[in-house]
Symmetry: C2
Subunit: 211 residues, 2 copies
DNA sequence: AGATTTCCTGACCATATGGTCAGGATCAAC
DNA sequence: GTTGATCCTGACCATATGGTCAGGAAATCT
């Protein structure tokens, strides 16, 4: 209580923006951009609708900010790939990081998927620049590992797609997975099983022995 | 022309329903359920909006029919799994079939993904019954292959998820893949590369030598 | 404590959307 | 070619939605 009061006095704007962004991420993920309404986001955030428009002038701007947040998380995970000694460590750690994101930020992942499925109206430019460059860099790295005989000569691009697809599936299709798990979310042990299986199958599939 | 005229006379209802369903699938895929409008679907189909409502009373009903169509395609591919001699043939053919669906019905795949991401308002019952049963059957089959030592002891459930995720990724994230391919859709050779890589990595990853 | 900036919100507006309907056109059957 | 069924559609309606705004409350500054 004292804490809340103190925080509220400190920086109302930052606090409310975070609150709204969190609610918006959830609603956009559950309803899609078109299905989400400012009123519903306001209700979830516990604020009057007019207040949303005070902080975020338009629905579009609010959505944009939500997507940017997710993008940042995505980028952070990508760095795990960076400083690695080889395929076992680099790819293994990347898979783990992406699985962890799916677990911790399922709503964000869904918003991302939705955005791409709808032809990326907001992030198109970023796909063409940042993601393209990042991908090319990783492909070059993987190709060097292949040249050194440290893994099978697979197509690096399609390997990346497989990693993205599989890890994000646990967030984007979480509802389906939950339904096939008797309606219950995966527990700790099940997440561990998932992670282990994904890592093992992919690493073995490209001719890399796990750590 | 003569052909069109003859067909038109034959069964107007069937023809127009198919036309509308096709347009609806496209629009639902591109805009999501909430973002799709009856007016836009009508425009794409080249019919007045009121005509849509003559064949499909509500947007909900139209959407339902679109999802059902996709579900049918999905089921057909699932049967490839059925009559197989072992993991190499069964799983390999299933991957091929799913990749082909992603290529031929990208819009349908997106509608499916969207539906599941939004907590499956239309197909929930089917997920709990048909898909659940099908999955359990496939898991049993894979477990028997494992028991016979014909493949590694992986978790069959997560193997299925990986296959679904990876194959559907080529449809659902087709725009991203296209962007990373200099804005061009994958050509025949690239699809072949994709298919080969997916099949090879997964089969090797579970300890099965390809055909 | 007065002034100024920031924050808050109920009431309101213009527009877009799903859906309706009456009346007309077209077709098949006889 | 008359009749009944099916098909077609412009005009219309009720509602929901994104967004505005005036005026007041609260915080911050001097």
């Amino acid at each position: 209580m004292a804490d809340t009061a103190r925080n509220r006095k400190k920086n109302i704007r930052a606090e409310n923006e975070a609150l709204i962004l969190q609610a918006a991420e959830k609603v956009f993920a559950e309803a899609g951009y078109g299905g989400a309404t400012m009123q519903l986001i306001a209700d979830v955030a516990g604020l009057p609708k007019a207040n949303l428009h005070y902080y975020f002038p338009t629905k579009d701007e609010l959505y944009r900010r939500v997507v940017e947040t997710i993008f940042q998380i995505w980028l952070d995970a990508a760095n795990v790939f960076e400083n690695s000694d080889g395929p076992a460590e680099g790819i293994g750690a990347y898979i783990d990081a992406k699985m962890e994101i799916s677990r911790r930020h399922p709503a964000g992942s869904k918003v991302w998927a939705s955005e791409v499925m709808h032809r990326a109206p907001v992030i198109q430019e970023w796909l063409e620049s940042t993601l393209n460059v990042w991908t090319d860099g990783r492909i070059a790295l993987i190709e060097s590992w292949i040249a050194e005989g440290r893994m099978d000569p697979v197509d690096p691009r399609h390997l990346l797609y497989m990693i993205w697809a599989t890890t994000q599936h646990y967030a984007d299709f979480g509802h389906q997975i939950e339904t096939l798990n008797n309606g219950a979310p995966l527990d700790d042990a099940q997440w561990e099983t998932a992670k282990t299986n994904v890592r093992r199958i992919i690493l073995k599939g490209i001719g890399v022995s796990p750590d």
